[in-house]
């Protein structure tokens, strides 16, 4: 499997090497670029390792948001309802004490057995869930509480009512509110952080990602269904869009990879929580020393810089009609 991408590159590399040098400079640039890509591929998690992350991130025994809340925080008080329409159990919110101080907690929550899974809607929030989250953000801002978010969702719920109640707008406004806050915000990616459903609570100062978690724009199955026209090609899709922690760190999208117990967080939830808690504590201490306005400005600056692109004039030959 690791092969496919690599084989493709090697083939291209060999083909290019064999070409007579008509436009020498450009070709050697291309050769160098391909060689670099090959080197990078060899040093990185293989396709199998990526897929193992996908499986571990979605393991049925993996600790969920409330498992960490229980182990990391004291005096947790869960707050329910968006004060407009409904209570959404797919996203839990509340106040708790962490290292002696009050903290606001927002996270997607999956269910352990079939009943709870249904009740939690498999961790796929409706707009009401995001609006409940925004309520918590406002409380945190008013009282100066730092915020910890826990990302673990296959995505926002794709249903008729969710659309009618404004799923897209709710995700956008949740991010917009996070961009305005002057309290420290840390995101912990503890399972699968997928698409808009995850990023709604993911616009933050620091992102901690467990080593077997995944973070991506779409589920492997969704990507495969669209680009390969076959959801069964999920492995290929995951290998192509690389949702694993190592790649996310390399792309500058997360700040720290949090170790898990050997074999995955589900084998020792207490230890997984201890490791996550110490990273969260350290990060909040750092952020706590920064004045609020600076926090917000740096947060915006962080996202201002994200992205990889180049600048190049339009080649006249590519302009239609010329």
């Amino acid at each position: 499997m690791a092969g496919e991408a690599e084989r493709h590159l090697r083939e291209r590399l060999n083909r290019l090497r064999g070409l007579p040098l008509l436009r020498g400079t450009r070709l050697s640039g291309e050769l160098e670029r391909l060689q670099k890509q090959l080197d990078r591929i060899e040093a990185e998690p293989s396709d199998e390792e990526i897929w193992r992350s996908v499986e571990l991130a979605r393991h049925s025994q993996r600790p969920y948001t409330l498992d960490y809340v229980e182990r990391l925080f004291e005096d947790f008080v869960e707050l329910h309802g968006d004060r407009a329409r409904a209570e959404d159990p797919a996203l839990v919110t509340g106040l708790a004490r962490f290292q002696g101080k009050t903290i606001a907690v927002i996270g997607q929550q999956k269910g352990r057995d079939i009943n709870e899974r249904t009740r939690r809607n498999f961790g796929m929030p409706h707009p009401e869930g995001y609006r409940k989250g925004m309520r918590l953000m406002e409380i945190a801002q008013r009282h100066g509480f730092p915020i910890a978010t826990f990302l673990d969702s296959p995505g926002a719920y794709p249903g008729v009512a969710a659309e009618q109640h404004g799923q897209g707008g709710a995700i956008a406004r949740s991010q917009a509110l996070l961009a305005r806050l002057t309290v420290p915000i840390v995101a912990c990616i503890i399972g699968e952080g997928n698409s808009g459903g995850a990023i709604a609570i993911g616009l933050v100062d620091r992102v901690l990602m467990q080593e077997n978690a995944i973070y991506s724009v779409i589920t492997p199955e969704g990507c495969a269904a669209i680009l390969w026209r076959d959801a069964g090609e999920a492995r290929k899709a995951a290998a192509a869009f690389k949702p694993d922690a190592v790649h996310c760190l390399e792309l500058g999208v997360i700040d720290e990879i949090v170790k898990e117990p050997t074999g995955g967080a589900h084998l020792n939830p207490d230890e997984a929580a201890r490791l996550l808690g110490s990273a969260l504590g350290r990060t909040l201490d750092e952020l706590g020393a920064v004045p609020g306005d600076d926090l917000r400005n740096r947060r915006r600056e962080r996202y201002r810089r994200v992205g990889i692109y180049s600048a190049r004039a339009v080649e006249p030959a590519l302009q239609p009609g010329s």
Partner: protein
């Protein structure tokens, strides 16, 4: 309005349903079957004279439709997508980009620039669905951010015209990061008290709907546009729910309170002019 038109609607109605692989001519109205020459369609802002169906509009043509002649000054035209993941599905991403560049004559799925609409100065960001489904990758995110900065610098409102299938999957997690990036750009715009008018055209979905497009001070759409976080096909497949006839359409969005107005294309320019004047009067 007048002008020669080849109306073949009757023949079409009597024909059996076209098979899916047999694509209709792009100038044939999918709603009533009327067929137009390209210059006829262009003259009528690509709206079917017969039934009012709104054909898709390419980004450059949209700019021409909206702005005072000769006022559009494009910015950041040199930005190009990179291939940070070495992505390929059935074909390499680089090949898809190159092909889109050639077929559309655009650098990516959005063009931005300063302009005037009915003599009101503004910054314009227009998406083009023909460029890889109007998908938002690093370049679209960067251009929207620059458009916001440019608006702040010149103290003018931003007008965004969206048409997008969502985030560009080929850029993986970086495409998801364009959601918070564009949201932050809109927040900077708000802090500087610049107005933001979002015009959602068919289709505005997923990542673009879930970021800057939904954050306009004023949000309008064109008739019949699909505005949904998840499109009808996926909703149907995942939930097996029975979908309402107008699922996700602008009309449904207006009824549920997600839109300020549905503005037919012919009225869009005067509408924007009026809104922009109101924003500039308040300063």
């Amino acid at each position: 309005m007048a002008g020669p038109r080849i109306d073949v609607s009757i023949e079409h109605k009597n024909l059996p349903e076209q098979s899916q692989d047999e694509k209709k001519h792009p100038n044939t109205c999918p709603s009533c079957g009327s067929h137009y020459r390209d210059d006829e369609l262009e003259r009528n802002l690509r709206v079917c004279e017969h039934c009012g169906y709104h054909f898709p509009v390419r980004a450059r043509e949209r700019v021409t439709q909206l702005v005072d002649e000769g006022t559009f000054e494009e910015e950041a035209a040199e930005l190009r997508s990179e291939d940070p993941l070495g992505f390929f599905d059935l074909r390499p991403y680089t090949e898809r980009i190159a092909e889109a560049e050639v077929s559309t004559g655009l650098g990516d799925a959005m063009i931005i620039g300063g302009a005037a609409i009915e003599s009101e100065a503004c910054e314009l960001a227009v998406m083009d669905f023909a460029f890889m489904g109007g998908s938002m990758g690093s370049v679209v995110g960067e251009k929207l951010s620059r458009a916001a900065e440019s608006a702040v610098e010149r103290k003018v409102p931003l007008v965004a015209v969206t048409a997008s299938g969502g985030a560009r999957m080929q850029e993986g997690i970086l495409s998801l990061m364009q959601l918070p990036k564009t949201v932050c750009a809109v927040e900077d715009l708000r802090d500087a008290r610049c107005g933001f008018v979002s015009v959602m055209t068919h289709p505005t979905t997923a990542g673009v709907l879930a970021s800057f497009a939904s954050l306009g001070d004023v949000i309008v759409s064109e008739p019949g546009a699909l505005l949904a976080f998840t499109g009808p096909r996926v909703v149907q497949q995942t939930t097996r729910e029975k979908l309402p006839d107008d699922f996700g359409l602008a009309e449904s969005n207006l009824r549920f309170g997600h839109l300020d107005a549905i503005v037919p294309r012919g009225e869009l320019r005067p509408f924007l002019g009026r809104v922009l004047r109101l924003f500039s009067n308040g300063r």
